[in-house]
């Protein structure tokens, strides 16, 4: 089998497939399991300064084209979370801590309070007041938060961007300017579902984030735009469920690919996609490096 290993955003990965933030990332055991079942790296659930129970249910609605979720950033606080990261390491792959906060100092406090292989800054969750996309839709905030965390920690810092803006490239450039080692695109699209029988918005929080197949075309576009404009690596996420999806991301310019919603089909998605990508590279007689961003050179 051809090698899928490579360096991405300051980490050495055995393959470019990662567990996305907030997916089976609450416990060290479930994170370690993703590593054992073939992921190249795992990202934790986003953690913050103080414990949060999250939004009331329903927190996830499955619709034909994906999921809408409003978990509401439940987490036991960073203080209680180090033990999960330590356990997650037993999966044998790098563990990336996803962190959130309401301002640069909160972000820095959380990140510097944790030991992890890298940090992913959640500046993009579309359904939590004062957090995520509420700050992350302004390039100035993105740059400031990134710079603050870069100063506070030694590990690589990735910035996860929101697609709910007119210019995601502006956010990516701000992250790069702030010193980010990579950007991650995209978080979910702000969305909603209503129960026709009762008239109620289905999610306890009314608004949520759309993920899964529905958002892949938006994610591909964002990855393509970002990788054309940035010098730092772009990690693609959004709607990847099979090797063709991952290939599309890499052709668009992604250095690695995260997988979220597709985990509802089971952990074997990592092995299946890795096998599919390997076969494709062999058939095309190409390396992963040559494949990356090919779509930009083809247009």
């Amino acid at each position: 089998m051809i090698s899928l290993a490579g360096d991405v955003g300051g980490l050495r990965l055995r393959n470019p497939l990662m567990l996305a933030a907030g997916i089976l990332g609450t416990t060290g055991a479930s994170l370690a399991r993703a590593g054992r079942e073939g992921a190249g790296a795992v990202v934790t659930k986003s953690v913050g300064l103080t414990p949060r129970d999250g939004h009331p249910g329903p927190t996830v609605v499955r619709i034909g084209v994906g999921l809408i979720n409003a978990m509401g950033l439940p987490n036991p606080s960073y203080l209680a979370f180090q033990q999960e990261i330590d356990l997650a390491r037993e999966g044998g792959v790098p563990v990336v801590a996803s962190v959130f906060g309401s301002d640069p100092s909160e972000f820095s406090q959380v990140a510097s309070g944790l030991v992890a292989d890298a940090f992913e800054l959640n500046l993009s969750c579309p359904h939590a007041e004062r957090y995520g996309a509420e700050i992350g839709c302004q390039p100035a905030n993105v740059e400031e938060v990134t710079r603050a965390v870069k100063r506070a920690v030694g590990a690589p810092v990735w910035v996860k961007l929101t697609p709910n803006v007119s210019d995601i490239v502006g956010l990516g450039l701000a992250a790069q300017q702030g010193g980010a080692d990579a950007v991650v695109a995209i978080n979910t699209l702000k969305a909603m579902a209503i129960d026709v029988e009762s008239g109620y918005p289905i999610l306890g929080n009314r608004f949520g984030g759309l993920s899964g197949p529905a958002i892949k075309p938006v994610a591909i576009r964002c990855v393509y735009e970002l990788s054309a404009a940035l010098d730092i690596p772009v990690i693609g996420v959004g709607g990847v469920g099979c090797w063709q999806d991952a290939a599309e991301m890499i052709l668009a310019g992604a250095s690695a690919v995260q997988i979220g919603t597709a985990l509802s089909g089971g952990y074997q998605v990592f092995r299946d996609i890795a096998a599919g990508l390997s076969k494709y590279l062999v058939r095309k007689d190409m390396t992963l490096e040559e494949m990356r961003g090919l779509a930009r050179r083809r247009s």
Binding site: T27, R33, K45, D53, V60, G204, G260
Partner: protein
């Protein structure tokens, strides 16, 4: 998929704090499977099936209180059946349940009888006034009853009833109830773990295996899709019986049985 809308056809008072609701369509569940029940405007919570169209609810907090305010003709949102059910194997079954946890076991026992299995039940309640489904269990076979306050049957926790029975004589043991009770039984039935199926409870949010809320140590089993029924030999080496995670994901210690 989206929650379907289901109308309540009947409300049965089991005890002061437990009610059974009959919904307007059968979900064709296996005993042990659950649904996510959406009380609109309040919350969505997991509920085991106590029959093809039945759920049995104990009032403990906001969502279950809201269920108690519903009447015949009102509707709820339902997703299900979800998760794994009990699997019926062998010729003799011992059902061990505590509190409202006996609900899925009554359903299971009826299915077991229907396929010709022998059914024995060990049921524990705090007091006789809190006992539910005794008649359903008695119709199935022998019933050993315990109450914490001694108001009926053996006085003590459920496991106190084990001395009346020889667990090793049964082909399969089915557990549902408070975690400390199940843990206690599993410990007392050492060596039989591979013949014990436990229907366990964890904080279930997404119910489709993505959010991570329900995962248990040490293997990261997703209780919402790989459970709630899990063989006891997968439960002995980790968090089960020791701690469980609340809505934030942080662990709380399980109250010990004594």
């Amino acid at each position: 998929m989206r929650p379907a809308s289901s109308v309540i056809r009947e409300v049965l008072e089991e005890t002061e704090s437990v009610r059974t609701l009959r919904l307007d369509h059968s979900f064709d569940p296996l005993p042990g499977q659950y649904m996510m029940l959406w009380v609109r405007g309040v919350d969505e919570i997991p509920m085991s099936f106590s029959g093809p169209d039945l759920i049995t609810v104990q009032r403990v907090g906001p969502a279950t209180r809201a269920i108690f305010s519903l009447d015949v003709g009102d509707s709820v949102g339902v997703r299900g059946p979800l998760g794994t059910g009990f699997s019926l194997t062998g010729r003799s079954a011992l059902l061990i349940g505590g509190g409202v946890g006996v609900a899925p076991l009554a359903f299971l026992g009826e299915r077991a009888r229907a396929v010709g299995m022998e059914v024995t039940s060990l049921l524990g309640f705090r007091s006789t006034s809190e006992a539910v489904f005794l008649d359903r269990f008695r119709r199935l076979g022998r019933v050993v009853l315990t109450t914490d306050d001694g108001s009926e049957g053996i006085c003590g926790h459920t496991s106190a009833g084990l001395c009346e029975l020889d667990p090793s004589a049964f082909d399969q043991i089915y557990l549902c109830g408070p975690e400390v009770m199940m843990w206690d039984v599993i410990r007392r039935c050492q060596g039989m773990e591979s013949r014990i199926q436990a229907c366990i409870s964890r904080y279930i949010k997404c119910a489709i295996g993505v959010c991570g809320s329900c995962c248990i140590d040490p293997d990261g089993i997703r209780v919402c899709v790989e459970g709630p029924v899990i063989r006891a030999d997968r439960l002995t080496a980790g968090e089960f019986g020791r701690y469980r995670r609340g809505p934030s994901g942080g662990p709380d210690v399980c109250k010990s049985v004594h």
